[in-house]
């Protein structure tokens, strides 16, 4: 925060511009209001311009993040104000022994893997399809953004009906291709089914978006890279994997980090997939309850904000670690040829 307080700091000795130096070099007493205004404009105006961002972000972005740490060390039970205010590390200790937390962590990772891997691979394929000379090029690109602009709440409700047990289209389609089994699949009964259903929603939503990110990177690959590879006699598929992907590696890493951050905070899909959209339990036995959902339940249904804050911190640390590992892994894998 200290850096954001820099706005009223004393003016630096180094005058910003040449003209500014001229102005201040003149006789001090002859400074007209115009000069003063000018000096103010040069020295302080930049801080005024950035001030709104830092103030608002400080109050509603940064401060809560830090204050969250304080809350996590407190007994912040909304329904029981009689508890001693400071809990020390009790909330964190409770976390380690909390089955629900580990279950939610397991679910979050399971769904994350089922969604991010196919999502990014398919996005690569779609991007390479788009990376051709196409008629009505813009419309193809706009078309694959349909899921991206569709409100998550709306699409999740559609999928929720799609994956219903008795009259769902998913079971009907499975039946058509002979995979129906003797009883209709209950998509909300176990981890396997519910994870697939939720991962489907995530994949649907983000493939097009990621494809555009990849496409942008693909198009900035210099043409001579491909020309040079002519000697190898690479077909389109090999061209994609051996030239294109390694060349767009930074963007691949970027999307991996993005999908890690997003995937580990998954909330809307598991929340609304529940038949009772406000239960926040993620199935009768927490089959698909994610950490973000558990935080919501602990904080706003059990009204234990201190514990919810501790969970948020844990989630934050996990995201950092996983994003780091993924970055390393992706660097290794996609840059394999270098």
């Amino acid at each position: 925060m200290s850096s954001t307080r820099a706005a009223p700091a004393p003016p630096g000795r180094r005058t910003p511009r040449k003209r500014g130096a001229d102005g201040s070099g003149a006789d001090q007493r002859r400074l007209t209001w115009r000069n003063r205004l000018y000096r103010f404009d040069m020295r302080y105006m930049p801080y005024l311009l950035i001030a709104p961002f830092f103030l608002i972000f400080g109050v509603f972005g940064l401060f809560p993040l830090i204050f969250n740490g304080v809350v996590s060390l407190r007994n912040y039970r909304l329904d029981d104000p009689t508890l001693p205010p400071w809990a020390g590390f009790d909330n964190f200790a409770k976390l380690l022994g909390d089955e629900d937390f580990w279950n939610a962590l397991y679910n979050t990772f399971g769904i994350f893997l089922l969604s991010s891997v196919p999502q990014l691979l398919l996005a690569l394929v779609v991007a390479s399809l788009l990376n051709r000379k196409l008629r009505a090029q813009t419309w193809w690109r706009v078309g694959i953004l349909l899921p991206y602009v569709t409100p998550l709440v709306a699409s999740t409700m559609v999928f929720s009906v799609f994956f219903s047990r008795d009259f769902g289209m998913a079971n009907w389609l499975l039946g058509l291709v002979g995979l129906g089994g003797d009883a209709p699949a209950d998509w909300r009964a176990d981890k396997f089914h519910s994870w697939i259903a939720i991962a489907t929603m995530v994949n649907w939503k983000w493939i097009g978006y990621n494809a555009l990110l990849y496409l942008a990177a693909m198009q900035s690959i210099p043409r001579d890279v491909y020309e040079a590879s002519a000697i190898d006699g690479a077909g389109p598929w090999r061209q994609l994997w051996r030239i294109t992907v390694p060349m767009i590696q930074p963007v691949v890493v970027f999307t991996v980090v993005l999908s890690t951050i997003g995937g580990l905070q998954l909330f809307t899909e598991p929340m609304l997939f529940d038949l009772n959209a406000q239960a926040a339990t993620g199935g009768p036995n927490g089959e698909w309850q994610t950490i973000a959902q558990l935080i919501y339940k602990v904080g706003w249904k059990d009204l234990d904000l201190g514990y919810a804050a501790a969970m948020s911190w844990a989630l934050f640390l996990i995201i950092l670690v996983v994003a780091g590992i993924n970055t390393l892994l992706t660097n290794r894998l996609s840059g394999g040829r270098q």
Binding site: L65, K133, F167, R223, F254, S312
Partner: protein
């Protein structure tokens, strides 16, 4: 801008050639798409559009159509009836939700555009002490998901007495680190230093430079950032749910989740509501699709 230039070049490259068999040595973007490419792309688009289409089908159906196998795949004729039911539900405030979503998204978008372009301008074109560190700070906060402070945010809003009001939803969205970053990059690349300098010579104040030189130059970036911000704000769910659920002023997303969690969950209603809340964004995609595509693609190349 390189990506866009490339796109344009590729687009201008004339009709597709006939020699798609020989891919080797040719950049993919210079290779004309074949039948399979079109087919696969068309399938992708169909799969992308299907849930939206089916949402409409359910939104237009009656109960019987939903309780049968095989499921209905053709729209019914009950859209207006279903919609009427949604709007007349006293306990869901759906109409208010739509208005509120529009208000929140508009306020947030306007504010993000203004404040972020101001800060972006300062970082790109003005010299001041600490600017490098402050910019680094902005970039660092880009990577922190601010959802993680959500518990404390709720407490802060409680102290301010804003929980359950639209202010609680608007305030945290008023500025974004991404907005500042994006604006800085754009201004850095498109507004020539000489132009700023010469305006200075003529005695223009900083705000005048911003108003007369920067703003006109960054209109495309404003369109992109505006569209992305609007879409993102309109679709936001978790925080609005926490602070607005159970009140009389939900956003449309919260209102839909209310529709889906009463004692009578009727999917044709839920999805009629969902469809109405989707339409504004579909219109934005049709009108501003080019900009949204460009925004996403530029963001990728630059960051």
């Amino acid at each position: 801008m390189s990506a866009v230039d490339t796109v344009r070049r590729a687009a201008d490259a004339g009709p597709p050639g006939r020699n798609r068999a020989r891919l080797t040595g040719r950049a993919p973007q210079d290779t004309a798409a074949g039948v399979w490419t079109y087919l696969l792309l068309a399938t992708t688009i169909l799969l992308s559009a299907f849930p939206l289409y089916w949402m409409f089908v359910i939104a237009t159906s009656n109960d019987e159509a939903l309780a049968k196998i095989p499921p209905a795949v053709v729209p019914g004729d009950r859209f207006m009836t279903n919609l009427d039911e949604v709007f007349s539900l006293q306990d869901v405030y759906f109409a208010a939700g739509l208005v509120n979503s529009a208000l929140v998204s508009t306020a947030v978008t306007a504010s993000v555009l203004f404040f972020c372009s101001l800060a972006g301008f300062a970082f790109a074109k003005l010299r001041f002490k600490g600017s490098r560190w402050l910019m680094l700070f902005v970039v660092l906060t880009l990577t922190v998901p601010n959802q993680l402070g959500i518990v404390a945010l709720y407490i802060v809003m409680g102290k301010l007495g804003w929980n359950g009001t639209l202010l609680a939803v608007i305030a945290p969205g008023l500025v974004t680190a991404f907005g500042v970053f994006y604006m800085r990059q754009f201004i850095l690349n498109t507004v020539p230093d000489e132009l700023v300098e010469s305006a200075r010579m003529d005695g223009a104040t900083t705000m005048r430079v911003y108003w007369n030189i920067v703003l006109p130059a960054i209109r495309p970036a404003l369109a992109v950032l505006g569209l992305l911000t609007f879409v993102g704000t309109w679709n936001d769910f978790q925080w609005p749910l926490i602070t607005l659920s159970g009140t009389d002023f939900p956003t449309s997303m919260v209102a839909i989740s209310d529709l889906a969690s009463g004692n009578y969950v009727i999917y044709r209603r839920v999805l009629a509501g969902a469809f109405v809340a989707t339409v504004p964004l579909l219109i934005m995609l049709v009108v501003g699709g080019r900009q949204i595509v460009r925004g996403i693609m530029e963001g990728a190349v630059k960051s």
